[in-house]
């Protein structure tokens, strides 16, 4: 593996371990960056265990640095280092450290925007400019979010630990949300190119790590399965001219069979545990979509019914309507959307437009498409909706 690959794979793990050893996230980041700079100069070929090399080097560099400094933080960190002196020195990244860091980055006391930025920065090793580009916000904004979040972690003493079993119901969802939103942002971007692969890759990598670290949490497996099964369909999502292709019209031979197999396997593992949750059900829906030659819609609808009971949100009602249309027809689906309100979200009028078009109510469909186009922020999606509107046959 080249240095860039090692950096991607090891950065977060090393920061996590150093944060425990040094008791300070900023010092940990600096030390790990120092160590990677040293690696760049020293490595002819990477050592057999690059993570352990980075951790050891970072730790030594941090000790040197702390000896030269005499701030309060430095003294505190030095004390911690002494405290850790009796531990074996040649240690690589520790798995629990990563969990600690994920839960700290996604602590509910931090602002949601800051959680994602901090996770990408500390666990993904993305720099501020990469995060800013991925989210199409100013670098200064991202930098400020990260600085504020780190300051709050320190000032308010947000603990650096894995939550206890009884705390997980409160603490795990924000972690899963961060990974889910990170993937979504990459997959269906709010603006710019429709697919920003980096964010998807990073979200899947972190979800995989989380699934390895918490193999007994079915929602973690469910989220990973959902991401993999969505990612698997990416190659068929746009046609050669860059137009959006609906699931039913996608060329299934383009789907990634390996990811689908892995996703299906995870869904089966979740089913065996029989502790259903929102991510698991969404993964199961994706599994039905990617099973066989065509979607088994009655089964999809049954899963959406289950999801709606668990999370009765307008977005679930909207997605369910698509399945209702396939099973009971567009009229029933349209009726199921009565009273569903999602201000500012283009997919509600877009879905209504499709259903109206199928009922031959073209005038109403046109108006709904217009609404959807006005609300959609992504160019690819706007173009798709315009085309659908133009394709309406009745005058």
């Amino acid at each position: 593996m080249d240095l860039a690959g090692i950096y991607r794979a090891e950065y977060g793990r090393c920061v996590a371990t150093l944060a425990r050893i040094l008791g300070d996230i900023n010092l940990a980041e600096e030390a790990v960056q120092d160590a990677f700079t040293t690696a760049l100069q020293k490595w002819q070929t990477p050592p057999p265990n690059p993570g352990a090399w980075i951790v050891t080097t970072a730790r030594n560099r941090a000790v040197d640095r702390l000896r030269r400094e005499s701030t309060r933080e430095a003294r505190h960190a030095q004390a911690l280092l002494l405290h850790h002196q009796d531990e074996p020195r040649e240690v690589g990244p520790v798995k629990d450290d990563q969990l600690r860091l994920i839960f700290t980055c996604c602590h509910p006391a931090l602002a949601p925007d800051a959680r994602t930025a901090l996770t990408l920065r500390l666990l993904g090793g993305l720099d501020v400019s990469e995060i800013a580009r991925a989210y199409l916000v100013q670098e200064a904004t991202v930098a400020q979010r990260i600085v504020r979040a780190k300051k709050k972690i320190r000032d308010a003493t947000i603990p650096y630990r894995v939550p206890a079993e009884h705390e997980l119901p409160d603490r795990l969802p924000p972690v899963l949300t961060v990974l889910y939103l990170m993937f979504n942002e990459g997959y269906a971007s709010t603006a710019g190119p429709l697919i920003r692969t980096d964010l998807c890759t990073e979200a899947i990598r972190l979800a995989r790590e989380l699934a390895t670290l918490m193999p007994d949490e079915p929602e973690v497996l469910g989220l990973l399965a959902l991401l993999l099964l969505t990612e698997a369909r990416r190659p068929a999502r746009l046609d050669p001219t860059g137009e959006l292709v609906l699931l039913a019209d996608q060329d299934r031979s383009l789907w990634n069979r390996a990811l689908i197999a892995e996703g299906h396997d995870l869904v089966r593992r979740c089913l065996r545990r029989n502790r259903p949750g929102a991510y698991q059900i969404q993964a199961a829906i994706s599994a039905v979509h990617t099973d066989g030659a065509a979607t088994d819609w009655p089964q999809v609808l049954a899963l959406y019914d289950q999801l709606l009971v668990l999370t009765p949100t307008p977005v679930v009602a909207l997605n369910r309507a698509v399945a209702v249309a396939e099973v009971h027809g567009p009229a029933v689906a349209l009726a199921s959307l009565e009273g569903v309100d999602l201000p500012g979200y283009h997919r509600l009028p877009a879905t209504r437009a499709e259903l109206l078009a199928r009922l031959g109510r073209d005038d109403e469909a046109r108006a709904a498409y217009d609404q959807a186009v006005a609300l959609a922020t992504n160019e690819t999606e706007r173009a798709y909706l315009q085309n659908r509107r133009t394709a309406l046959t009745h005058p």
Binding site: D155, A156, T157, I158, P159, P163, E167
Partner: protein, 117 residues
């Protein structure tokens, strides 16, 4: 050990709690106080009278002036608080959850370590 301020806030004009609700709130608060004291988290706490009972003291150009009323006229004001001592924010948040169940929204704010006696 860190110290945190857990403050309870009232919004002016919000419907006043009934006598029965007040009794429940007092009973619950008393129970939380006992629990904090037993666990060693308790530093201090209490309810405050309304802001119109406040006086602001200022030194301006060497002269002391006093004015009637709160420092800032706002619709929201602090109605009571706890100061607790615990290891980290998670422990403070766990106490805040209990307090919020009894008294409504609670703001958790860390003390500056340098100012702690």
């Amino acid at each position: 050990m860190k110290q945190y301020l857990l403050s309870v806030h009232l919004v002016e004009g919000a419907p006043a709690p009934s006598d029965e609700e007040m009794q429940t709130m007092f009973a619950e608060t008393g129970r939380i106080n006992d629990e904090m004291q037993a666990s060693g988290a308790w530093v201090f706490g209490g309810g405050l009278l309304s802001p119109d009972s406040a006086t602001v003291v200022r030194i301006e150009n060497g002269a002391t002036t006093m004015s009637d009323g709160p420092f800032v006229e706002t619709k929201e004001h602090m109605a009571g608080f706890w100061v607790i001592r615990c290891a980290d924010l998670d422990q403070a948040l766990a106490w805040a959850e209990k307090c919020a169940a009894a008294c409504g929204p609670v703001e958790v704010r860390p003390f500056d370590d340098l100012s702690q006696a």
